[in-house]
């Protein structure tokens, strides 16, 4: 058998025989996408819990509560009027609670501005979303009472208007899976090969370094494409997934695997044992997970974070995947594919040069 092919088969055989390897290759992505699906897909949600202390006995507080109920966003419950709401929020560790003052209806009737109080933890995203929804409900109520209407309104749409939030997360999820499996895996493989003397052993054969590196890339690509197809098929069956795997998606996964396998090899030239491999991968991997736009849009992030994201290889893979899977913008995806390939080539050449199987 050809040396590269034989090394690929032999390596794959060993990898898949480790329970951890098989778990991270096939089961972990499925679990992760099921989890994301459960969180972000549209069906089955129970809404955000919003306990309300209504001190008002007039009609307008009832209208407000009814409006909030109709948004479908909240699960509304009552807080007794004889309780100190501040203590209650602290005692119950409530993320959200609303207090309607006793003069709410009378103030509105006499055209005075009235204030409702939202309690909770403003650092949580649900707090800010709830704040905006309550504010909108108050505005809507104001229009209804005054008989006015907003001058302009907004309706939801997207490039493909049937897409769900879950669909938008999928490309980031694919990019992240490619990074974790290829980069973390290669760094730890290099560390294990060095600490167990496998590199020295391989150096006694006619296998060349570039052949070994190529076989790892081939194995990772085959594994990740299989894993992607499996995960996607399950997600398609389990959720109402609209995003599609295109040929460009496959190309991006292959080239992304090449880039992260090469980057992992590059880190692998610096590590001597599996412990330091995990540390190096995490130092690079964690910031990339959060700053490369895998799970949220970076255009709202501060400029300096956007600059940092621009320096992260995962950003271009995520952008390319989003271009092809969400927007069908193949031209933009191709540009990102080219960037990912060039970065991969640079990492591959540097790793090949720096990697040494010999002793000093």
């Amino acid at each position: 058998m050809n040396k590269i092919l034989s090394d690929t088969v032999s390596f794959g055989r060993q990898y898949l025989r480790t329970k951890v390897g098989a778990f991270f290759a096939f089961i972990f992505p499925v679990l992760l996408i099921m989890l994301f699906g459960a969180i972000f897909s549209s069906g089955g949600g129970t809404g955000v819990s919003l306990p309300i202390q209504n001190l008002d006995s007039g009609p307008f507080s009832e209208i407000l509560i009814s409006t909030l109920n109709s948004t479908g966003y909240f699960e509304i419950s009552n807080i007794s009027t004889d309780i100190n709401i501040t203590d209650y929020v602290d005692d119950e560790s409530l993320p959200l609670a609303l207090r309607i003052p006793s003069d709410f209806s009378s103030d509105i009737s006499s055209n005075q501005t009235t204030i409702v109080q939202l309690y909770g933890d403003p650092t949580k995203s649900s707090y800010m979303v709830s704040y905006q929804i309550i504010k909108s409900a108050l505005d809507q109520m104001g229009y209804n009472i005054s008989g006015g209407a907003p001058l302009a309104d907004i309706t939801q749409s997207s490039g493909a208007d049937v897409l769900e939030p879950y669909d938008f997360l999928l490309p980031g999820f694919v990019g992240l899976t490619v990074m974790i499996n290829a980069m973390y895996f290669m760094t730890s493989t290099c560390a294990e090969h060095r600490s167990r003397g496998y590199f020295k052993l391989l150096a006694t054969t006619t296998l060349k370094k570039y052949e070994w590196l190529t076989s790892k890339f081939l194995f990772n690509s085959a594994m990740l494409i299989t894993s992607l197809l499996l995960t996607f098929a399950i997600a398609k069956m389990a959720f109402d997934l609209k995003a599609d795997i295109t040929l460009m998606t496959i190309a991006l996964v292959v080239v992304g695997t090449f880039m992260f396998t090469s980057l992992g090899m590059l880190f692998g030239t610096m590590v001597k044992d599996p412990e330091s491999a995990a540390a190096v991968s995490n130092i690079v991997g964690f910031p990339m997970m959060f700053l490369a736009g895998s799970f949220w849009d970076l255009s709202a992030a501060p400029l300096y974070l956007q600059v940092i994201a621009g320096a992260m290889p995962l950003t271009y893979l995520n952008n390319g995947l989003r271009d092809t899977m969400i927007y069908g913008n193949e031209t933009s995806a191709l540009v990102n594919l080219a960037i990912v390939f060039v970065l991969g080539l640079i990492f591959f050449v540097i790793a090949s040069r720096l990697m040494s199987w010999k002793e000093k």
């Binding site: 058998m1 040396k3 032999s10 003397g197 010999k358």
Partner: protein, 312 residues
Amino acid sequence: MAEAVVRVKDLKKYYPPDVKAVDGVSFEIMPGRVFSILGPNGAGKTTTVEILEGLRTPTSGQISVLGIDATKDYSSIRRRVGVLPQNFEPFDLLNPAEAIAYWADLFGQKMTKKDVEGRLEQVGLAHRKKSMAKNLSGGEKRKLGIALSLVNNPELLFLDEPTTGLDPRARRDLWKLIEETKKNGTTVVLTTHYLDEAEKLADDVVIMHKGMMIAHDSPAQLINKYGKRTAIVLVDAGSEGFKELSRRGISGVVDGDDVIVEVGDPSELRVMFAKLSSIDVKYKEMYTRRQTLEDVFLGLIGSKMEEGVLQE
């Protein structure tokens, strides 16, 4: 005269700031022989061998392996060389049959299933061909290592401490394998710190100490040159026995309660035994003390032995 398989001239390997791992070693290895490099831990054995295997770069010196300059173009002879590195660890999750087939592919060597089984048979692993390497015993792992190092039918085989840590039976099994390999015409370079192993297997021995070569010859010649003479020991003969022997014109020395009578030539042993038996000397028992490589070591480098292994 046959060409040397390995020629080493003034080989040096220094590490900053001032470690001289190998310091001016020169020797030749002739084809079809077992060449053993002996020395205590840290003597420079493995460094020397790894340079010959193309796994380390020397600081200076000339090294020719199978007729090529090993510092320049090792890839051209890699296919003709077999290596079992020190502390060999097989790939845990391959079984011996898979490992041999894989290794053959890495040498571009065509091996059928039957060839693989033949190789497993040769090293005594046929019954373990489907066991994962991680489940093999230490001796079986080493046998697998030798099977891998032989997969390309090498002209030159390096075995770096192949029996370290093995039990006596596993060691003897490997000795048999090494003897068979030699019979097939392969030149074997064997590093070890087991003196009995070198004495049993080697045709030529180099003794290294602190990076330098301090002796080089066949085991028998080394013993002749550096060892004490063969002797007969009269246990518990004491000073009375010594006096009686002296009276009869036999020279000996008192060593504790024993009397030791040295014999110039081993062929004179029978005569001396007869003489001693005829003298009325009281002793517990009488035995022959033959010199070994261990004695040579003790004399040459002042090392001590712990469980048959040389220590500084």
